[in-house]
Symmetry: D2
Subunit: 220 residues, 4 copies
């Protein structure tokens, strides 16, 4: 009597869950800048897997939003690489397939991290073009948050979608999930691929876990 | 009597000069987003040549600044693609060679273009971390200008270098030359590769010259 | 009275014609392996333009042959880079769009060049799987020629398409045109991007014209 | 009493060992050609990790062999992607660093697999230029084997190095280890990234494990 319906996933790309006991990759397996030798514990996500997942997210976004006009709102500074790469993939799909997404790009900046503690206060800097968003679709990228969304909703956009490379499993989950995300990761402090520790490690290609030596060296 | 000394070029990469009578490439030779079909005159610089030149500039920068720490100051919004790609090339060199450049990344925003007229007033938005630049080297990227440099010099950085993808030959040249640049181009209005016309065309991969149809369609 | 009919181009991508008086790019504008410093005259086609054209050809092929199964016959050794890159672009389109091309890959080898003289005798080596081609579509890539086509037609494939990166304007044109090609070039001897002079220059990224010094140095 | 000496690894890049109980990645996490939907069990190695490892191997090879001339002997057909990508990385390093490797490229073909059984007989096809190898260094790539090495050694090359993307843990290990390799994998039958099952799956970007459905569908 059970009425089992196998639901079609909302998006093509599943979510890549990295479990708490995943030991990561040894740093010796990959190349990374020598000025960070000794500062890292392990590679959580090699750069190439970020690339593969971003391609997948771009395909999803294309299928959901194709033939619309969107404003991509890149959240600086941590989101700039993910945003640049995601936009590039969407552009590649746009110019090579039947459907195309017209994209404008804007930038906002949220300030919230000091050392490795996330603080609750945040400032929104820039993004004064948000008033133009009315009637447009938005894909926020990067470590966007509820505060930003509240701010954006004032402009009554037709649709808002959030794409985030990472979602962290925290002890006090706030229930917020982006519409598209690359990886769900353990509650560890990660750097690399534009994510930083006191402005360092943005120039690291892989997403890595910092070690105590690295934390001490770059403390402010 | 003339004492001609053939000077060794300051940088390895020569400057690529695109002459006023260069007809460009037909749009039919390349792929580009279909939402811009009919809006463009010709391709001034195909995307791949931007890539090749950026690799060359990265090599130059690496040779000049290798083993130093720099702060890359990306000038939004037009400079974000060039900056992201240049940083990525420098990172690739950094992790694969004997020398490495440690890079922090910051963003500023200059506002000056309305329609296709460049205005003289400009605002500097963001970049509140500039005070940290003291004693660091800077490479500004994008369509940076003198106003920005004056602003930066207040913080007395050890060295300032400017990298710009394009330098335009104008009727009233102001004598300013960036330290590194990709192309010297005729005084035409170009879009693509993050350069825009009223926020459109940032999602075009090649650098193109807009036509009258495109100007009319996207006028504000 | 003229009955002008603007014909729809057979393919989306136009043909990029490089004229006899095109001076090329200075070698100082790009990076290239230092073991070839002094051996080259100029850059005829920078690597990035090859990339852009290959993307365009892949889109054309996809539109013409999408949803079919093909056997890609790569002509060694000069065609291996073009073939590998073209196949990669078609794969990217295949996995990201509605249509997909299933591809098998095979390799043949034609021998015909000694020093910079093209000889008429040629051997076909390898490719013993050609008997399997019956009923399949073929895209030959590289510097394929009529001899190869005659050989392939024995197996009565459903369709044969030839893709070549370069077509050279010779004094005695044989009337043969590939179905897809990247560039029509002057009758100059070119090296790079897997094209060689006595097995040298395959590891050069750009397509360049060799100079007398280079010819002397690598003569056999 | 044991005199444990932690040996410095012969190469910079460690070996990436994929254990027998590694469940792989779900296929839904990545994009892949739709003509293979339903034919695969899981993703053993996503394409991006192949890319990251290849960059690392190229750096190792560059450090060991830099400033020499080598002949790269690509083993067709399964090795052509790895070979093309590895050569491209070495070229990138060559033209951007102080040291450079001059590379010639040749191709051989070994025939040994039918269905998913590896047979012991093999033929060497092509590679008639091997006589030129005398006094040169060789890096064989792909699924090279002892038979090939015996053949090559007749020409008394100065040095032979073997690079292989994969090394399989078999029940009867033959003790052979390549000088450079990307991954040590369980004894499973893998396809993708130019590795095939009866000529299918070469156009799959990731390295995957085939399922029974796929085996049945493409049996010959």
């Amino acid at each position: 009597y059970a009425n089992k319906i196998r639901e079609r996933p909302q998006h093509f790309c599943d979510r890549l869950l990295i479990s708490d006991d995943w030991p990561g990759y040894s740093l010796d397996l990959f190349t990374y800048p020598q000025h960070y030798y000794g500062d890292l514990e392990y590679v959580l996500i090699p750069h190439g897997v970020i690339v593969d997942r971003t391609e997948c997210l771009a395909k999803d976004i294309m299928q959901d939003i194709g033939d619309n006009n969107i404003v991509v709102l890149c959240v600086l500074k941590g989101g700039y690489k993910f945003c640049a790469d995601l936009v590039e993939y969407i552009e590649t799909l746009s110019r090579n397939s039947e459907r195309s997404i017209s994209m404008k790009v804007d930038f906002v900046r949220l300030k919230s991290y000091h050392n490795d503690q996330s603080t609750q206060d945040m400032q929104i800097i820039g993004g004064e073009d948000l008033s133009k968003l009315t009637g447009k679709d938005i894909i926020g990228t990067g470590r966007t948050m509820k505060a930003l969304l509240n701010n954006i909703e004032k402009y009554k956009p037709k649709m808002i979608k959030v794409a985030s490379l990472l979602v962290k499993r925290t002890s006090q989950p706030d229930g917020y999930r982006p519409d598209y995300y690359g990886f769900e990761i353990p509650n560890v402090f990660v750097v690399g691929y534009a994510l930083e520790y006191n402005e360092h490690f943005r120039d690291l290609n892989h997403i890595c876990v910092i070690n105590d030596n690295g934390k001490g060296k770059y403390k402010v």
